[in-house]
């Protein structure tokens, strides 16, 4: 099963976080974390970015991958497993599904797979959303 939406059928995610990759999702994080260690720079200049930040850590060696804003939204849509990533992205960004570039999501998924951060499941062919 590839995870295509079918009435009455169980939806299987086509992507999931790779084994050995840790994740911290900060949905309401500011875009630029401070070097002092908090999410807020000392000068208070950060503007919260829609989508927050997802930190992915391939253990045991690293380094940490930081997905912020739209990238964080795309990642969540890919691994959510609750249906079509395009619909999920459209919902999260508050736009129409027609306005979401499915090919861009697919390219992004390929990048994450190549980086070893997520894995593709099922018989779905790479590049097919």
């Amino acid at each position: 099963m590839t995870g295509d939406s079918m009435p009455g059928a169980e939806v299987v995610p086509r992507w999931s976080r790779a084994v050995g990759v840790a994740v911290v999702d900060v949905p309401d994080a500011d875009e630029q974390p401070s070097e002092a260690g908090g999410e807020h720079p000392a000068d208070g200049s950060a503007v919260p970015e829609a989508g927050g930040v997802v930190y992915l850590a391939p253990l045991p060696d690293g380094p940490v991958a930081v997905l912020s804003g739209a990238s964080a939204v795309l990642y969540r849509a890919l691994v959510a497993g609750d249906g079509d990533p395009v619909a999920r992205v459209a919902r999260d960004l508050g736009v129409s599904p027609e306005d979401v570039d499915a090919e861009a999501i697919d390219d992004f998924a390929d990048e994450l797979v190549e980086a070893g951060l997520i894995v593709r499941h099922g018989a779905g062919q790479p590049g097919a959303l």
């Binding site: 840790a22 911290v24 930190y55 060696d61 997905l67």
Partner: protein, 290 residues
Amino acid sequence: MSAAPDLVPRRVRAAFAHAAVQQAATRIGVRVLHIKGVAVDDDLRSRGGATDADILVDPEGVGLLLAELTTLGWDRYSDFLTGSPFGHAATMHHPHWGYADLHRFFPGMHQDPQATFEELWAGRQQGEIAGFPCPVPSAAGQVLVLVLNNLRNRRAVLTDPRVAQVQAEPKAWAQVEALVPRVHADVAFGAAMGRLEEHRGTREYWMWKVTTEGGSRSAEWLARVRAEPTLRGRAGLLLRVPLVNTEVLEHQLGRPPTRAEVGREFVHRGRQGARELRSALARRWRRRAP
């Protein structure tokens, strides 16, 4: 996409440190319990959030885990013997995950580390940190760690809203009180609850007396010596008193200290200790003088 460690918030790195240590421990079959910080229930978390990972390790496996982490690129930041008067934790550092404090026991429930670990392990629950399954102590165990940690750090226990919240629930508080004797934490818990005098005459009394009422580092060490149950343990502690923490000195200097620098620090600590002892003796003399 990859980020320099400085651009990753410390509390995020702390969560990854928990997961990384858990992964290593699982691989080599060493049992660990994640404590404090992101490992505890939401109601018990401090507002600031933890900046390192605290992990209680099966005392029998702690050496194995330290060796495994070293092979995985972690450096030893400080050792058990030089870290604190309790000698309870070694700090490891990883360039990406930051700091992890590995506890071979927890101060306040340190009389029988192995039996205490077994007790806490038996009551464990499954938590999740950074998407990894991580065992954590029972709710009562988490509260007890919070209470004893506040005590050790000279922070208020009775007025801590997180503690007060549990005290307000008789059933939950009864579970904490029931756990105390099972992990031999009677004296420390008594001290935290303002009932230390009920334990006068016990070996641990002076240790918590100094901790709760304040005292110099020398006084803290000497009280710890008095609390040691065996002569061997006492001798070990006395030998450690003047030891220079070379790991910390190295981190302060940014390079390994030379023999001369270690020597200077040794003399400095010796002088400081002597000054503290002279002050203590003078205070005692003044109290005794009519």
